[in-house]
């Protein structure tokens, strides 16, 4: 159900300033784009996992709700292993199938990046209300309509998930088996839930925009902010740590540390 998504989490990350949380997502994103060494990426992934625990969220549940993203991560991991099966000596060989260090390293670095980004996004979205994300974006001087769109998208996720579940049940009741048939018939079957989902999403967003307008929402008018955003010492500490690590990562990369070791390069 939608509820798990929306239960306000009372935890460390709930108390963290929303600006820090938004910056955290950005920070992870920059970090994993800068670093390519799978060992360092593992450390970054570990960090995002620690953040999940610090927020007192269930890792398993988080992975489950973003399963499509994690599936992509897993698929890229396996694909790299497959692509680079002839690169260097085999760590493991089963018939024609070989796992090489290069395949493992490259697959893992992609998978770890995707997983770290997913985890950081989900931790923040689960522990921050729409209003807080919006306030943070306003205060970080992001444009108001953009902050608004982010806010609305976050607000819609739980409702659309519930809609999606109902549509799938409605179509299964009409005899659809989504996981069988050839490519063409599968595509047709997927239309059977994509079309209603898109139409429902349009209906829900148009209702929501009516409701917001009726409550005097005006993106260009001055507004009250939900809470006086004030960094406390923990926020400064986090920001400081993030800044130091970011500078270190950039500097290290400049000196050649953090790149994919030559032995594992794909070509």
């Amino acid at each position: 159900m939608a509820d798990a998504y929306t239960i306000a989490q009372v935890s460390a990350s709930r108390r963290t300033d929303p600006r820090v949380k938004v910056l955290y997502v950005l920070w992870i994103f920059v970090l994993v784009s800068f670093v390519a060494d799978p060992r360092i990426l593992s450390a970054v992934l570990l960090l995002t996992i620690c953040a999940v625990f610090a927020a007192r969220l269930s890792l398993l549940e988080l992975v489950r709700s973003a399963r499509f993203g994690f599936f992509v991560a897993l698929a890229s991991f396996l694909l790299w292993i497959l692509f680079l099966r002839e690169r260097g000596p085999a760590l493991l060989q089963l018939g024609w199938f070989r796992i090489t260090a290069a395949g493992l390293a490259n697959g893992w670095s992609i998978a770890a990046r995707i997983a770290a980004i997913l985890l950081s996004c989900f931790v923040v979205f689960r522990t921050t209300s729409t209003r807080e994300v919006m306030t943070a974006l306003y205060r970080l001087r992001v444009s108001v309509p953009f902050a608004m769109v982010v806010g609305i998208v976050l607000r819609l996720i739980p409702q659309l998930r519930a809609e999606h579940a109902t549509i799938i049940e409605a179509q299964r009741s009409r005899g659809v088996e989504f996981n069988s048939g050839g490519l063409l018939s599968r595509m047709r079957k997927h239309m059977a839930y994509l079309v209603p989902l898109v139409l429902r999403a349009l209906k829900i967003t148009s209702d929501l925009s009516l409701a917001m307008e009726a409550r005097a929402f005006d993106p260009y008018a001055p507004r009250t902010f939900s809470r006086n955003l004030q960094f406390d010492s923990a926020d400064y500490l986090l920001l400081g740590l993030m800044a130091i690590l970011l500078v270190a990562a950039v500097a290290a990369r400049f000196y050649g540390v953090g790149a994919m070791p030559t032995a594992w390069l794909p070509s």
């Binding site: 009409r174 009726a214 008018a221 939900s226």
Partner: protein, 565 residues
């Protein structure tokens, strides 16, 4: 002080619909403190009129606007929608689509923050508004964890937090269960009587609003066709029929009696009115109780045996349910939201499998069959056709199910042709379901399931949301199918539907079957019904209030017995 709402000569058409105005020549004045109910069929202009009051029309919708709308003396064209929000509280039909915040407090504060009130004032007003709708103790809760009625009360709180003197509600109870309807209506009434807020409410169910309304407005094709005290409007001959509005059951009974010369005087508005009029002229001769037709019991189609079910969280939703649906029956599953009605119904076609006990469909265990296999026997129509319909043409929509069952193409074609017969014939096969109205989409959804030729049809609230005439059309269609041998199970809150169409009612309470039997048997057990939060329809209430009580359940039976005296 002048009227709070003044509308003069208003004619409005939506963009690109100039030839078909949604509102025509509206003249209306509403005084402070009034409780105005607006009714009319779909497309009669009720919602459009609401949007005119808070300035969404013309500011957001555009279109062609003629005439003048003044709220508290302000011309709505002269100020923006956000500025009008301070004067007009607005509540929409769907409670969930109005939720903005992740907590109850946040949700109410959203509007106040939009008008840049100081934070202390925001907190004060949030607390006061939540107090008014009796949600003060839920302030830190997630709005998604509230019941339907509570969510709608939250939306009302968000509207009254502006401290406006006018509250406009567009069909706020349409999607709620009876408990939710009652709590929302009594909240609105309280705001009206205790806080003096003027209420304008669109509501199709006159039975719900009549106890509170000081004025009833009927709309038809964009015009106000009748406006006045509810008693007067209902007694205008033909007014409700013209507007396509359902007559309250007691008034319906009186009307039919009147046609047979068995009722004199004005039509009653409440059960008590009707009962006292009837008592005054009734003798005390006891009538022979009609023996009811025992329905012929067919063979079992679905057998639920000691079934329990819980979702992932382990909280039981069904507890040891035993239920048999026999061929040829018309059964309604009833009970407030969250009692397991829909969960139980989803067991019939294998969407859910019991965590313990078993469910047999034509004697085979649903655990060993896929939903697709069971779809040949049990058809399931969801409440909202938007969840089901996706194809570009009616033909494609109707063929989808049969094709999924891997029927040969000639058989699919035959099934489509057959299903089309019910909804307008072969000439409609190229029509696009997307452009049909809600009632018609509901019919298409039913037909698209019927195309799979199931033996049992399960429907979740088939008539809810459609206006009175369309709802009646859908129910008569189902009654016809039933007459032709189809077994039907309906999940519904609509007691009137259950009383007038079903031959068996099953009432659930906390995941178990609390009551079961023919409508007469079930509605007779008033105290048990009360504990299940089910209120019998007006016709039944009236029959029970008479001395001696009538043994009748359907409106037609009550009329027959009263006229036969």
């Amino acid at each position: 002080m002048g009227p709070i709402v003044e509308i003069r000569n208003l004619t409005y058409s939506y963009r690109r619909q100039c030839e078909r105005p949604a509102l025509r020549d509206i003249d209306l004045a509403i005084s402070r403190g009034e409780f105005v109910a607006i009714a009319g069929r779909s497309g009669s202009g009720k919602s459009t009129l609401c949007y005119c009051l808070n300035g969404l029309i013309p500011h957001s919708f555009g279109g062609h606007f003629e005439g003048e709308v003044r709220v508290s003396g302000t011309d709505t064209r002269a100020v923006s929608v956000p500025a009008l929000a301070r004067k007009v509280g607005f509540v929409l039909q769907n409670a969930e689509s109005q939720l903005v915040g992740l907590s109850v407090e946040e949700d109410v504060a959203f509007g106040l923050e939009n008008i840049a009130l100081p934070r202390q004032e925001v907190s004060r007003r949030v607390a006061a508004a939540l107090q008014k709708v009796r949600l003060g103790d839920r302030i830190h809760q997630s709005p998604w964890s509230l019941s339907g009625g509570q969510k709608q009360r939250l939306a009302i709180a968000a509207a009254v937090a502006f401290e406006s003197q006018l509250l406009v509600l567009d069909n706020p109870t349409a999607e709620l269960d009876p408990v939710g309807k009652l709590e929302v209506m009594s909240t609105i009434a309280q705001l009206n009587t205790e806080h003096g807020i003027t209420v304008v409410i669109v509501n199709q169910e006159l039975e719900e609003v009549i106890p509170y309304a000081t004025r009833l407005i009927l709309m038809d094709a964009g015009r106000i066709v009748s406006s006045g005290a509810p008693a007067r409007v209902i007694n205008e001959p033909g007014s409700l029929a013209q507007a396509g509005v359902k007559v309250p059951e007691v008034a319906e009974i009186a009307m039919r009696l009147k046609a047979r010369g068995a009722w004199v005087g004005p039509l009653p508005l409440t059960v008590n009115d009707a009962a006292s009029t009837l008592r005054s002229r009734m003798g005390s001769s006891a009538r022979a109780s009609h023996s009811h037709k025992a329905s012929a019991k067919g063979q079992a189609l679905v057998e639920v045996q000691n079934a329990s079910f819980s979702y992932g969280d382990g909280v039981p939703v069904l507890r040891n349910v035993d239920l048999t649906i026999r061929r040829g029956e018309f059964v309604t599953l009833m009970g407030p939201n969250g009692t397991g009605k829909t969960t139980l119904a989803k067991h019939f076609n294998g969407l859910l499998k019991p965590t313990s006990g078993r469910v047999l469909v034509r004697e085979s265990d649903t655990r060993h069959a896929s939903v697709a296999q069971l779809a040949k026997i049990v058809g399931y129509v969801f409440q909202n056709p938007d969840h089901q319909l996706f194809a570009r043409t009616l033909h494609e929509e109707l063929a989808f199910g049969p094709a999924n069952l891997k029927w040969p193409s000639t058989q699919v074609e035959r099934a489509v042709e057959h299903a089309l017969e019910h909804i307008g014939g072969p000439r409609r096969s190229a029509d696009d379901p997307f452009f049909m109205g809600l009632a018609e989409r509901k019919l298409v959804a039913i037909a698209s399931v019927l195309a799979m030729e199931p033996e049992l049809l399960v429907l979740d609230e088939p008539a809810t949301g459609a206006d009175h005439e369309s709802a009646l059309h859908i129910m008569n269609y189902l009654a016809d199918l039933h007459k032709n041998g189809l077994t039907i199970v309906i999940v519904t809150h609509d007691v009137s539907l259950a009383a007038n169409f079903a031959d068996r009612i099953v009432v659930l309470q906390s995941g178990s079957i609390a009551l079961e039997g023919s409508p007469r048997e079930v509605f007779r057990r008033t105290s048990e019904l009360e504990s299940c939060l089910v209120v019998p329809p007006q016709g039944v209430q009236l029959a029970q209030k008479l001395h001696p009580p009538l043994d009748a359940c359907r409106v037609s039976e009550v009329v027959e017995q009263l006229a036969g005296q």
